[in-house]
Every structure is written in structure tokens, then in C-alpha cells.
């Protein structure tokens, strides 16, 4: 392998390298080319190092490990390595679009491949390889464009040399290079020659006015494979000699096996072995290895296990909420302060207590991975959202060095946060399983599978929360004081993210969105509850509950003030929130709110919320049919700055609306009794189905600014808009999720 380095120094090689937001996450950057691909062609890579905003302690020392991002084959194929997990959000289409745009590639020849764990593929801003925070396009917008522009320049230089003309006389369009005297060459024909050209130090990116792909609704590259069953996911991995394993996990988190009898399990045909293994949170469980999932599952059911649950807190949801409510009535750690002295004397008041349950992510593809553990290496295939963290955890568990671990990123059937776990729970367990398997003298790849019940009961939930708000309004309905308390488990305390994202005992993910964006005197205090329940981010994280509280309370304040809820919001937003105003205005205009009457028995509801730097407003139309809330229409407006692929932006908003709707439906809650999760499968844990889904229209506010995220921001404003519509119909405010009209 031949590698040439181009170190560009701080600030980027051409002045265009500043990332969106200008947060300076990159201190050095460089490009490389590597002649290592069979069949030749042009390969360009990229590395980033230093300036890791969320650098993990064990990674304080920067590692330079170049990896390819782009391969142009002699067959004209353009292969783009995607530094993210694709799990529905469309990144395996969006990132190739960015390269193809600057490269002037033939889009029909472009494909995306998911990159394995590697330093080059770390998020330029976060400093770890992660798919999260709705940051994939936002953080890699310039990174991928620059690679495309550099490859294009090298192809042009190769053509110029071959045709003996000046580079500026050359034009490129749709994968073909054109010379001034009618010369023509396809990318593939020039790829080898381009590889011999130096990597340009400076490149000029396209003027956005010349974009032909960015901003154009572009069908997903994986739509056909995903409509024909040909797309392979992690769960579809099959290797020679591979066995399938399932684990009987403790019924209370962190509990241990006291004793077990595997006689019946081992008698099942296809079962190879049964043994105890360490599980998450210091617990233990019983693993079954078999020739396939079915015998493994049957054997697990045939196990007789006595569990030792002493010393483990046994959570009960009823008493937990009672305790949370009690705490919410007491001041906690102050996270935001304001003068709320006018609260006591305010002529009008709202006092409200909100409850939010634990939520499971329940991606359609249950968790799984394949582990092939050997004495000096470990290869893992997993739909990981968190490759840097997972690779390190695999190495630690296996007793190997990070560079001895290969983590292949598999297409994943949804995730919503569950595949980005700071403890790498399911991967650590799988490696422990493989260690125990190898210790019995056996070897070979193991596919560890989770059932739906394992998924629903396996923890790492969106934490339960209680909010309490006291709002004082003056005689004109203006909010003069707002005293707010939130109670819940911190997601980040005790993780590598604590140092960056937990400040003075306040987890930023618990309070994001609270008190915002309205100009009101807002005091916020926080209680960090402890509970024996593993918690995790869940699509849109804190905004899953904070948006509901803020947007239903603002709506209620408007009602108390006797004002229109849209006008009331706009007044509070003032002039400092142009994007909020733009989405509110657009959603209102497109929905007919204020200009047309909803059908009899129907009502409009409105909400607006910013998360991950994107602002979304919904105007919904709802009714109550036979005592059941029904969501008929959603008119959405999205401000995500420049929409790289408007088709994906629309799809993400549509999907987030349906997922959020699911959180309002009866049964959308994980509850505990005696430390055990009471739900097992989709008959007890509700998610939205087609018959629940509204008619959705999404409108995008045009913008030329650097793109912001879209995977999550469509979720938060839906439930509050729906609740606000229902409040209009019933006169009663909903303060609990899932909704209960009784």
C-alpha cells in the first residue's frame, strides 16, 4: 500500500473547510490516497484528529489510521464509504450525494458502503465514530464535498496532462471529462492516471447555485434492495460453521443466577451447549448455543433457573412516580435561574404536574451481532451506531488491543438510539458469551440474537420523568414568572460523556428545550433520581418530554390569557427567532389554521420546537371518536437550513410523526412491578400502526445555510400539538403520556 499525506494545517486547506457552526472541532485535517484496491482506480481518503469535542478518556492520544472514503473504479463505478450507520435515515444516499455533487459524477454509477470502525470515520465534530445527535449530514457536509472536489481536480489534472491542455479548459459532467478540442474520457478511463496526480492543496467548492444534486429530491439508493428482500441486515449474517446463541437474562436488572438445570434444554435437538455468562450491570445469565435460533429459543424456555435478586433494587412504577412527584414539589439543583418573585402575587396561575413513562426503542430488527473471537483477534458484525465506543468495549472484554478488533458496520433495521449504548451492553455480553464458548474448547463465529421479549425487557429505556411547573401571568396574560422542576434519571452520568455533558450535576440531555425559546423568566431545577433501570437516549432525547411540557404549557397560557395560541407564541418569540417564526407561519398558512374551520368535532392544535438545530412546527387536526383521540391531519413545516435531500427530509418528518403518535397511544409505556418489566411484546407495548396514522403534508422552509439535522427534530412537536387539539375539544389539559382521556 502506498500512502501520501497532505497535512493541511489548522483551519483547513482552502478556507472552505470550516464545519457547519464553525465550532472548530477539527484542529488538523488531511487527505490521502492509497493504491490498495484490486483493479486499480482512484482512491481518496481523509483523516481527522485532535479537537475531539467528546473525546473519551481512553482516546486522549490521537491515532492516525487512514482509510478510504472514495473509490473510482476503472469500470466507472463510484463507491463512497459512509462514515455512519444507515438505519433508515437515508445517510447512505445523502453522503454519496455530497461527493457526487462536487465530483460531477454520474449518479447512476454511485453507491454507498458502510464503513467499519476506524479513526478516519470519526464524526468530524464529535471526535468519535457515532451516528447520533442528528449530526450525520450537518457534520459531514463539508467533509464529503471536499473529497469529491479533490478527486474531481485530480481527474481533471490527469486529463489535462494526457491531452496537453490547461486544466481550466476542461469540463466535467455526469462522469465524463471533456477537453476543448472535443476530447472525452470517462472517469474510469482516467482513474489510474488521476491516482498519479498530486492531491491538490486547494480546491474550490461549487457555488451552491450550480448544484445539480444537492437540494434535489433524490430517491434512496437502497430502495430497490429493501423492497425485494435483497438488502442484508446484521441479523442475516450467515457464516460457515456459525452457531446461534440466545441468553436467559435476569428478571431484575443486575441479578444473578443462583442455580440452573439445563437437562431438558440440552435434550432438544440442535442444542450444542448451555453455560452461565456474565451479563450487563454485574449480573449473570444462562447462554444457549444451538444450530439455529429455533432450537436455541426452545432450549431457553426449557431452562429451570433460580435467580438471586437480593440486593438489587426492585423498581415499582407506581411508587416511583409517587416519589418523583414528591421530589418535584421540592427545589432541586438549579439549572437555570431567573427572577420569579412575581409568582406569588400573579393574578393568574397555572400549576401543572406531568408524567412520562419509560419507553423502549423497539427497532424492528431485534438486537443481534456475530462475534468471531480468536486468541489474537476478534471480528464483530453489528448494526452499531457507536463504533468507536463499541470497538473499545469489545477489545476490553476480549482482552485484546483495539487494533486487533474488527468491527464491521451492518445495515440496521432501525435503532432510534438503542444501538449507541455507552456501556456497549449487548456487544460486551456477546463477547463474554464467545469467551465462555471458546473456553469450552469450541471455536467459530457465534450469532447472538435477541428476541422481541428480550428487546422490550432488556432495558436502556427513555427515562421516566415528572415535571412540575408553576406559571404566573399578569392581568393581560403575560407570563411574569415560571418555576419549573424536572425529576428523572440522568442518561449520561457515569458514562464517558459525563465530563462534557453533565455540568454541576445537571445532565444537559434532561433539560434541553426547557424554557426555550420563549422570552419568559424561567427558573429550572433538577432532581437526579436513582433507579435500577438502565436508561438511554431515544430519538430526540430530552425533547421527547421537554417539548411536550413547554408547548402544552405555552398553549395553556395562551388560553388563560384569552389569546390565540399562534399569536401568543409569535409575540413571545419576538424578533430573535426567525426560524421559529418561519415554520410557524408556513405550517399555519398551509394548514388553513385561522382561515378555515375544521370539520365539526375536529380541532386544530399547534406546537413548535427546536432540537438538534432544526426547528419544526406542526398544525394538527384531531377529533375524539368513541372516546378515543384520533389524529387526522398533520401539516408540518421544517427549517433544517439547506435540505440536502428534500425527499429524505420529508420522510424523516413523516416517520417521526408516526413514532411520536405511538407514544400517545394506550399501552405506550414500559412499567415495572417488583423490579420486573411488565411488557413483553407488541401486544403489551404499543407502537403506531397504519390505522393510527394521519395524513401528513410536510413543507420545507427554503434556506441556503449550512444543513442541520433531520433524524430526530420531527418528533418532539407532534405529541404536544395533538394534546393541544384535544384540550380544545375537551377543555381538559393532558399531562400524562400516553394519553388518557378518562
Amino acid at each position: 500500500m502506498r500512502i501520501e499525506w497532505m497535512n493541511a494545517g489548522a483551519g483547513g486547506p482552502d478556507g472552505t473547510a470550516q464545519l457547519n457552526g464553525g465550532s472548530g472541532g477539527i484542529s488538523r485535517r488531511g487527505f490521502l490516497k492509497a493504491a490498495a484496491v484490486a483493479g486499480g482506480g482512484l482512491v481518496l481518503g481523509f483523516y481527522v484528529s485532535g479537537g475531539n469535542r467528546f473525546a473519551l478518556a481512553q482516546q486522549a492520544k490521537a491515532v492516525y489510521a487512514p482509510n478510504a472514503f472514495l473509490h473510482i473504479g476503472s469500470d466507472d463505478s463510484v463507491t463512497v464509504m459512509v462514515n455512519r450507520l444507515e438505519f433508515g435515515q437515508g445517510i447512505q444516499t445523502a453522503l454519496p450525494m455530497l461527493i457526487a455533487e462536487e465530483l460531477d459524477a454520474d449518479w447512476s454509477k454511485v453507491k454507498g458502503e458502510l464503513a467499519p470502525a476506524g479513526d478516519a470515520y470519526k464524526d468530524p465534530l464529535f471526535g468519535i465514530q457515532i451516528t447520533g445527535g442528528s449530526g450525520s449530514v450537518a457534520h459531514s457536509f463539508m467533509q464529503y464535498r471536499e473529497i469529491g472536489a479533490r478527486a474531481r481536480a485530480m481527474l481533471v489534472a490527469a486529463a489535462a496532462a494526457q491531452w496537453n491542455v490547461a486544466p481550466d479548459q476542461i469540463k466535467v459532467a455526469k462522469g465524463v471529462i471533456y477537453g476543448p478540442a472535443g476530447q472525452q474520457a470517462r472517469f474510469g478511463a482516467l482513474a489510474d492516471a488521476a491516482m498519479g496526480q498530486p492531491i491538490p492543496e486547494k480546491v474550490t467548492l461549487k457555488d451552491p447555485r450550480d448544484f445539480t444534486l444537492i437540494g434535489k429530491p433524490t430517491p434512496r439508493l437502497d430502495a430497490r434492495a429493501k423492497s425485494t428482500g435483497k438488502q442484508r441486515f446484521g441479523i442475516d449474517n450467515h457464516f460457515p460453521g456459525m452457531k446461534v446463541a440466545v441468553v436467559a437474562r435476569p428478571p431484575v436488572f443486575g441479578a444473578k443466577v443462583a442455580k440452573f438445570d439445563a437437562a431438558k434444554a440440552k435434550a432438544i435437538k440442535g442444542v450444542i451447549d448451555v453455560f452461565e455468562i456474565p451479563t450487563d450491570r454485574g449480573g449473570s445469565g444462562v447462554a444457549v448455543v444451538a444450530e439455529g435460533y429455533w432450537p436455541a429459543k426452545q432450549a431457553r424456555e426449557a431452562l429451570a433457573i433460580d435467580w438471586h435478586t437480593d440486593g438489587r433494587e426492585k423498581v415499582a412504577s407506581d411508587s416511583q412516580f409517587a416519589a418523583y412527584k414528591k421530589l418535584a414539589g421540592q427545589p432541586g439543583t438549579v439549572a437555570k435561574d431567573a427572577d420569579i418573585s412575581k409568582l406569588a402575587s400573579a393574578p393568574k396561575k397555572i400549576t401543572a404536574v406531568y408524567e412520562f413513562p419509560y419507553l423502549a426503542h423497539a427497532p424492528m430488527e431485534p438486537l443481534n451481532c456475530v462475534v468471531d473471537l480468536k486468541a489474537d483477534s476478534c471480528t464483530v458484525w453489528a448494526g452499531s451506531q457507536f463504533q468507536t465506543v463499541d470497538q473499545a468495549a469489545i477489545a476490553r472484554t476480549a482482552g485484546l488491543k483495539v487494533e486487533q478488533v474488527t468491527l464491521n458496520t451492518m445495515m440496521a433495521g432501525g435503532g432510534f438510539g438503542r444501538r449507541a449504548v455507552p456501556t456497549s451492553d449487548y456487544l460486551v455480553e456477546a463477547v463474554n458469551l464467545a469467551k465462555a464458548w471458546n473456553a469450552t474448547g469450541k471455536a467459530g463465529p457465534l450469532k447472538v440474537m435477541w428476541s422481541r421479549e428480550d428487546d422490550i425487557q432488556g432495558g436502556y429505556y427513555r427515562p421516566a420523568h415528572v415535571h412540575r411547573a408553576e406559571i404566573g401571568l399578569d392581568a393581560k396574560g403575560k407570563i411574569v414568572a415560571w418555576n419549573h422542576t424536572v425529576v428523572g434519571q440522568s442518561i449520561l452520568t457515569g458514562t464517558p460523556f459525563e465530563a462534557m455533558m453533565v455540568k454541576n450535576g445537571v445532565d444537559s440531555t434532561m433539560i434541553e428545550g426547557l424554557g426555550e425559546p420563549y422570552d419568559v423568566p424561567f427558573r429550572l431545577s433538577v432532581h437526579n433520581a436513582q433507579a435500577n433501570v438502565p436508561v438511554l437516549w431515544w430519538r430526540s432525547v430530552g425533547s421527547t418530554h421537554t417539548a411536550f411540557v413547554m408547548e402544552t404549557l405555552i398553549d395553556e397560557a395562551a388560553h388563560v390569557a384569552g389569546q390565540d395560541p399562534v399569536a401568543y407564541r409569535k409575540d413571545l418569540l419576538g424578533k430573535d427567532h426567525p426560524r421559529h417564526l418561519a415554520v410557524l407561519d408556513l405550517a399555519v398558512e398551509k394548514s388553513g389554521y385561522g382561515t378555515k374551520k375544521p370539520p365539526k368535532g375536529h380541532a386544530f392544535g399547534v406546537a413548535v420546537h427546536e432540537s438538534f438545530n432544526t426547528v419544526v412546527a406542526y398544525v394538527v387536526e384531531a377529533s375524539i371518536e368513541k372516546g378515543k383521540p384520533v389524529l387526522h391531519h398533520v401539516t408540518g413545516a421544517v427549517h433544517c437550513n439547506r435540505a440536502v435531500n428534500p425527499m429524505t427530509v420529508e420522510a424523516q418528518a413523516q416517520g417521526a410523526i408516526v413514532m411520536a403518535l405511538g407514544t400517545t397511544l394506550p399501552g405506550a409505556a414500559i412499567t415495572f412491578k417488583d423490579g420486573k418489566v411488565q411488557q413483553q411484546n407488541f401486544h403489551q407495548y404499543t407502537v403506531a400502526r397504519m390505522s393510527d396514522a394521519p395524513v401528513i403534508a410536510i413543507h420545507i422552509v427554503p434556506s441556503e445555510d449550512a444543513p442541520t439535522g433531520m433524524g430526530e427534530p420531527g418528533l418532539p412537536p407532534l405529541a404536544p400539538a395533538f394534546a393541544n387539539a384535544l384540550a380544545k375539544l375537551t377543555g381538559k389539559r393532558l399531562r400524562k403520556l400516553p394519553f388518557d382521556l378518562a
Binding site: A223, S227, G292, S451, R452, F682, M690
Partner: protein, 152 residues
Amino acid sequence: MVTLNINGHDTEVDADPTTPILWTLRDNLNMTGTKFGCGMALCGACTVHLNGQAIRSCITPISAAVGQKITTIEAMETDGIGKAVQDAWVKHDVPQCGYCQSGQVMSATALLATNKNPSDADIDAAMSGNICRCGTYQRIKAAIKDASKALA
């Protein structure tokens, strides 16, 4: 050994007769287009056709399919209705994560085989057993209507 007719071919599998069709397809035959989602006929990811009817393969033992015709997603490209459904899926950019879509396509194809012009209510009734956690329902509905037109 159990003999199953899968996608028009008699296939011998070495599996216990109580094994669900799903696991025979996936683990014995490495036909992974049919997906595991819940194991309790609650989500529809495992939908296949048994003599043209949409069934949940995760709870249907292979013993129930002996002498019957099993059709899976792998055969839909050569099925007139199945191909129209898949083309409509692509046209409407339906899939997101895509994991449930094999089952969705199988349910939609079975619907259009018996109801050439389904109403919204017909589509809701036929498709509400298929969960899409990414929330692609609106596009699924539009694609089914489009496929119905294409087949008319």
C-alpha cells in the same frame, strides 16, 4: 426430512416439523428476505404466502405447510402483482430502515391479489398487522394505490 414447496420448488429440509416456517427459511435455507420481528404474529415482518394467503411464518409450523405452496419475498420479482408492488415501493421511496418491508410487500401483494382496487379502509384492514417502526405508512398506502392502478 420434511418436503416443502417453496417458490415453486420442492425443497427438503432437515428440521423438526414443529419448526416455524420463518426459521426453516432463515436458518435451514439461508433465505433471509423474510424477517423476524416479534415471534408472536404481532408485527408482520415474517409475512409469507401460503397458497396465496398472507400468513405469519413465525407462528406457522412447517408441518402445516406440507403439500401447500409457500411463496416468499424472493419470488415477488417474478410475480406480476408482486413486481408491481415492488416498483411502486421504489417509486414512492417507501423504505427507510427497510427491515419490515418484505412483510409489507407480501401483505400488500396478497391484498391486491384479491382486491384489485382497495379503499383506504381496505388497505388499513389488510396492512395494520404490519408494523413499520420508521413510520412509512403514508407512502405504503400511496404505493399500494399506485400498484393497483398499474395493474388495472
